[in-house]
C-alpha cells in the first residue's frame, strides 16, 4: 500500500436554512480545500462524493447531482453508509491513493437537511423495516433514546453526567468559526430543555444543519512537494453489525470496537488510551460521544462519564475529545459532519486549528463516525 497524506481541507459554515443549493455548498467546500492544497481542479484525478440518504436533499441519485462540484469527466464515485458516511468518504479517498489507482483525490461530503417538510425526522421513517417496525411510527430520536436509556441502566449513569458532553462540545464550538450551535450552557440548561423522547431533551441532540466539507488527499511524494507540515492517514477501519437492533445489547457499540481494532492494527496502536492524543468521536447525541469513547477503547465500558467528569476529555485535558465542538456544537449536516470531524483532526495535527487548537502537543489523532440502524462504524487514524 502507498502512504497517503492530506494536503488541504475546506468547510462551509454549518447553518440551518442555507440559501445555497447542495451543489453550491459542495462547490464552496471543494474550492476551499483545493485552495489550501495549492491545487486546481484540473490537477485532481478522482473524486469521492459522500452523502447520506437522498431524501434529505429531496433529490434522488444525489451522488451524480453533487458530482457537478468537481467530479464531471473524472473517475467519480459515491459512498454511503448512513451517518458513518463522512469518515467513509475520507477512507474511500484514502484507498483510491493507497491502491495506486490515483495520485490526487478530492473528497466531498454534503448534506442539506433543512428543506425536508414537515421535519427531517419524517424522512427517517423510511430507514426501518417496512413490515415489522415502521407501522409503529418510530422516529429517529426514539431509537437513540432507547439506546441511551439502555446505556444508563446497564452502567448506572445519570442524565446529568451525560449532559456534560453537550456543555463541553457547545463550549468548544465557541472557538470554531464554522459552528452553528456554539453556546456557554450549563447542565441545568440541558436538563430543563424540552423533553423530546425521555431520556432525551432538546439540548442532548445536535441541530438540523446544511453544510459541506471537502479534503484533498495525495501520494507521499506529492504531499512532500506541497507541504512542510504533512499529515498522514495511517489507519482506517470500517465494519457493520446487524440491523436487528431490538435483538442486540444496545449498551455497548460492538460495531465500533471491530472497526477501531482494524484501524489501530494498521496504525500499530496497542494502547488507544495512552497513544491517542486527540479524538473526534461521533456525537449526534451527547451520550453517543461517551458510547463511542468506550467503543474506541479510550475508556473502559461504562467509564467514559467518570473520565469526562474528571476533565480528561476537555480541550486542555489528557485526551481532548471533540475540540471542534462536534456535531452538538458545530452542527449536523450528516455526511459533511463526519468529514468535518476528520478535517478537524487534520487541522489539529497540522497545527492550524486556530482557537480550536488543543493545548498539548499532538501526534496521533482519531476521527470516527457511525450510522444506519445502530450498526455502521468508520474510524480513521492520522499522524503528523
Amino acid at each position: 500500500m502507498r502512504k497517503v497524506g492530506i494536503i488541504g481541507a475546506g468547510l462551509t459554515l454549518f447553518r440551518r436554512r442555507m440559501l445555497e443549493t447542495p451543489q453550491e455548498l459542495a462547490y464552496i467546500a471543494a474550492s476551499r480545500a483545493l485552495d489550501e492544497a495549492g491545487l486546481e481542479l484540473k490537477d485532481i484525478d478522482c473524486v469521492v462524493i459522500g452523502s447520506a440518504p437522498d431524501a434529505f436533499d429531496g433529490i434522488h441519485m444525489k451522488g451524480e447531482y453533487l458530482a457537478k462540484a468537481g467530479g464531471e469527466r473524472k473517475m467519480t464515485s459515491r459512498v454511503y453508509v448512513g451517518g458513518a458516511t463522512g469518515v467513509m468518504t475520507a477512507i474511500s479517498a484514502w484507498y483510491h491513493v493507497a491502491s495506486g489507482l490515483c495520485e490526487k483525490v478530492l473528497a466531498i461530503a454534503e448534506e442539506k437537511m433543512s428543506p425536508a417538510r414537515p421535519h427531517p425526522q419524517s424522512v427517517f421513517k423510511y430507514i426501518w423495516d417496512p413490515i415489522t417496525e415502521k407501522p409503529l411510527n418510530p422516529n429517529l430520536i426514539w431509537i437513540f433514546a432507547m439506546e441511551m436509556h439502555r446505556y444508563m441502566a446497564k452502567y448506572g449513569i445519570k442524565k446529568e453526567d451525560i449532559a456534560l458532553v453537550s456543555v463541553k462540545n457547545k463550549r468548544n464550538a465557541m472557538n470554531n468559526p464554522y459552528a452553528q450551535a456554539a453556546a456557554n450552557i450549563t447542565v441545568d440548561d440541558v436538563l430543563n430543555s424540552e423533553v423530546l423522547v425521555w431520556p432525551v431533551n432538546r439540548l442532548d441532540v445536535s441541530p438540523v444543519s446544511d453544510g459541506a466539507a471537502a479534503m484533498v488527499l495525495a501520494t507521499e511524494d506529492i504531499v512532500r512537494r506541497y507541504t512542510d507540515t504533512p499529515v498522514w492517514i495511517e489507519g482506517v477501519g470500517w465494519t457493520l453489525d446487524n440491523t436487528s437492533w431490538p435483538g442486540r445489547e444496545l449498551a455497548y457499540p460492538r460495531y465500533l470496537e471491530n472497526a477501531a481494532r482494524m484501524a489501530y492494527k494498521m496504525a500499530k496502536i496497542e494502547r488507544p488510551d495512552k497513544e491517542i492524543d486527540v479524538v473526534e468521536p461521533y456525537d449526534p447525541f451527547d451520550y453517543k460521544e461517551l458510547h463511542h469513547l468506550e467503543g474506541l477503547m479510550i475508556a473502559k465500558k461504562g467509564e467514559a462519564p467518570k473520565l469526562l467528569k474528571e476533565g480528561v476529555f476537555d480541550i486542555d485535558g489528557d485526551i481532548p475529545s471533540s475540540p471542534s465542538g462536534g456535531l452538538l456544537g458545530v452542527g449536523n449536516p450528516i455526511a459533511a459532519a463526519g468529514l468535518m470531524k476528520t478535517i478537524s483532526i487534520y487541522w489539529q495535527l497540522k497545527g492550524t486549528a486556530g482557537k480550536m487548537q488543543v493545548k498539548k502537543p499532538v501526534h496521533t489523532g482519531v476521527a470516527q463516525a457511525w450510522g444506519d440502524l445502530m450498526q455502521a462504524a468508520t474510524v480513521i487514524v492520522m499522524r503528523n
Binding site: T12, R15, R17, M18, K125, P135, I141, M146, H149
Partner: protein, 163 residues
C-alpha cells in the same frame, strides 16, 4: 459566501409542495410471512440455527453468523424482559404530543441475561411515564397483550405489559 436565511424569509419564496405517488407492495418473504401468520394465531414465531443455537425473532431464513440456512421454525414465548424503554413526547413528524407514547425493546424467552444477541422485539410497553422516568420498568418481566381481532401484523399485539 454562504448565506443562512432567517425563518421569516422562508415565508416569502414560492413553495412547491407535492405528494410523490409512490406506493409499495412489499414481499414479506417466507420468514416474515410465517411470522405474520403466527401473530394472527397469537404466537411469536422464530427461526433457529442449530449450528450456533441463535433464535431469530423476527425469523430469518439464513443465519447471519454461520452464513447457512436456518434449520427450524420455533415458537418463542410471548414473554420477556424489558431491555430499554422510552417515553416519546413527539410524533414521527416532530409534532408535540401531550400524552407520551411509550415504546421499548423486549428480550424474549428463551434467552439469557448476558446474551449479546437474542430473540427481541421493538414494541409499545403499557406502563406509566413515571416507571420510564425512574427506570423501574427496565429489567421487568412483561407479556404480550394480544388484540381479540387479529389480522396478521405487528399491531395484533397491543403492547407488552408487566406480569
Amino acid at each position: 459566501m454562504e448565506t443562512p436565511l432567517k425563518k421569516e424569509e422562508l415565508k416569502e419564496p414560492i413553495t412547491i409542495s407535492y405528494k410523490p405517488y409512490a406506493k409499495y407492495e412489499y414481499s414479506a418473504g417466507q420468514s416474515i410471512s410465517r411470522y405474520l401468520e403466527g401473530l394472527k394465531e397469537g404466537k411469536i414465531i422464530g427461526r433457529k440455527c442449530n449450528k450456533c443455537g441463535r433464535v431469530y425473532v423476527p425469523p430469518k431464513m439464513y443465519c447471519e453468523d454461520c452464513f447457512k440456512p436456518t434449520d427450524e421454525w420455533v415458537e418463542v414465548k410471548d414473554e420477556g424482559i424489558v431491555e430499554t424503554a422510552v417515553a416519546s413526547f413527539i410524533s414521527w413528524t416532530r409534532e408535540r404530543l401531550e400524552e407520551p407514547g411509550i415504546v421499548g425493546t423486549i428480550r424474549l424467552f428463551p434467552s439469557k441475561e448476558n446474551d449479546y444477541v437474542f430473540p427481541g422485539v421493538f414494541h409499545r410497553i403499557c406502563c406509566s411515564y413515571d416507571e420510564v422516568r425512574n427506570m423501574s420498568i427496565i429489567g421487568k418481566r412483561v407479556k404480550a397483550v394480544w388484540r381479540s381481532e387479529r389480522k396478521g401484523d405487528i399491531d395484533d399485539i397491543e403492547c407488552f405489559k408487566v406480569i
